[in-house]
């Protein structure tokens, strides 16, 4: 059975490592924070200027001066710190953030990503996404395998305007976990529970590399 959004977030949470600073994009990536594996410490950076982000505030305690990059009211944890936007992107550009998780409209088999602009539609802007994808060493894309029309979002080449080139290292979708190889191609690592290699192949327009046995994800 294909994963739901929470399932994708759960699977990505397994990629977290102890002592990592992590930037989570809006949408599915945000859900990753709910599934941090036991026994590890990670800290979340929000590019509008906070490290050590906590949960939403108890009703009545919300503070207009304390939001995340999605403009939601949040809280800060002990050890948190506030900083300005140029310092925030110094952390990102300077590769002090160990993992970036973000959504995408399209990903190509050489790691290009498109997630900010659809020609002919209102363009809202790239926000911090271009800085994040151009800077991070470790980028995981969290998205559905296909779009609403059922078309694959994993392509040979992106058709939409790019957000960044050659940057995505891993893609986790409702159907599969795939590494993007330096030499090009989506290498199938894991299947969603009950999803066959064939189904994944059919949903992948770009080059899918299947080697040997591909295990099912284990997400509890």
């Amino acid at each position: 059975m294909a994963l739901d959004k929470n399932g994708i977030a759960k699977r990505i949470a397994q990629e977290l490592r102890d002592r990592w600073y992590v930037n989570l994009g809006i949408g599915i990536p945000t859900l990753v924070a709910n599934h941090i594996p036991k026994g590890i410490s990670v800290e979340f950076q929000s590019e509008n200027g906070i490290l050590g982000m906590g949960p939403f505030p108890i009703e009545g305690t919300e503070d207009a001066d304390l939001i995340n990059a999605g403009k939601q009211t949040i809280t800060s944890l002990p050890g948190a710190v506030f900083f300005d936007s140029s310092t925030s992107f110094s952390m990102i550009r300077g590769q002090h953030v160990q993992l970036t998780v973000l959504g995408a409209m399209e990903v190509s088999e050489n790691g290009d990503i498109a997630n900010w602009k659809i020609p002919g539609k209102m363009v809202k802007g790239m926000g911090g996404a271009m800085d994040l994808v151009a800077s991070a060493d470790n980028i995981i894309v969290a998205m559905m395998h296909t779009n609403k029309k059922g078309e694959s979002k994993l392509l040979s080449n992106c058709s939409l305007p790019l957000t960044g080139v050659n940057c995505v290292k891993k893609v986790v979708t409702n159907l599969a976990v795939m590494d993007i190889l330096d030499s090009g191609g989506f290498r199938l690592i894991e299947r969603a529970p009950g999803v066959s290699v064939e189904e994944i192949k059919n949903a992948t327009a770009g080059k899918l590399i299947v080697e040997g046995h591909v295990p099912e994800m284990s997400i509890s």
Partner: protein
């Protein structure tokens, strides 16, 4: 001590004219100079180029200037949440220059710091990089971005003193410090204006040298854009 105090937003903004380029601090509606924005609306100047990470919402923040068609061009990283903005942009009334958020922040800081240009990886291989010089460092391609400055930078802080020193609160800091550096003239509006010596010189975020006019804002609505809470 050089006294930067002015009476109010009207006095601070008195020389801002149509056609000028203005930087405005804030992220969404968080940390925006509410009093100065209202004053710019009242002044009825137009053809403004506004450099601001976002464009407010329909009835608050820079949305108020958009409603009255006072803005000719927006320089931002993200401009959702605003129907009037969308209408003006799609109709071609409004020019929009979209810049990656980190490049926007760094270009403002560079403008204030006398760094005319710098290399960044952000935007390489995208339309943001088109026409810009590309150079590899450590094997990774970067593009050359230039500094941004403005006729006026308008920032909002939590506390300030009459020497122009500023302290921000929480994530309301955001673009305010780099923009404060980049204004030919910088106006700071604060929630609380105190005498020099009342702020700890160790705790100041924006040194007064970057600020030309400071005043205590009359009132702050501090509207919340996305009120997300846990029910008690």
């Amino acid at each position: 001590m050089i006294n930067k105090e002015v009476k109010n937003a009207v006095e601070a903004c008195k020389d801002i004219k149509s056609g000028m380029t203005i930087m405005l601090g804030g992220f969404g509606l968080c940390g925006i100079p509410e009093n100065c924005i209202q004053t710019l609306v009242n002044k009825e100047i137009n053809n403004l180029t506004c450099i601001s990470n976002n464009a407010g919402v329909d009835d608050f923040g820079l949305g108020l200037l958009l409603q009255k068609r006072q803005i000719k061009k927006m320089v931002s990283s993200y401009v959702g949440e605003n129907d009037e903005f969308e209408r003006q942009m799609l109709s071609g009334e409004l020019e929009v220059d979209l810049i990656p958020q980190g490049s926007l922040a760094e270009r403002c800081r560079a403008g204030g710091a006398g760094i005319p240009a710098f290399f960044t990886p952000a935007g390489y291989g995208t339309e943001v990089g088109q026409g810009k010089e590309v150079r590899k460092f450590n094997g990774k391609p970067h593009i050359l971005e230039t500094a941004l400055t403005a006729d006026y930078a308008i920032v909002k802080a939590w506390k300030g003193d009459k020497a122009g020193n500023l302290i921000y609160k929480g994530t309301a800091r955001n673009f305010n410090p780099p923009m404060a550096m980049a204004g030919k003239i910088t106006i700071a509006e604060v929630e609380e204006l105190v005498e020099p010596g009342e702020l700890n010189p160790n705790e100041i975020h924006t040194p007064g040298i970057f600020v030309q006019h400071i005043f205590q804002g009359e009132k702050y609505e501090k509207r919340i854009e996305q009120r997300t809470v846990i029910k008690n």
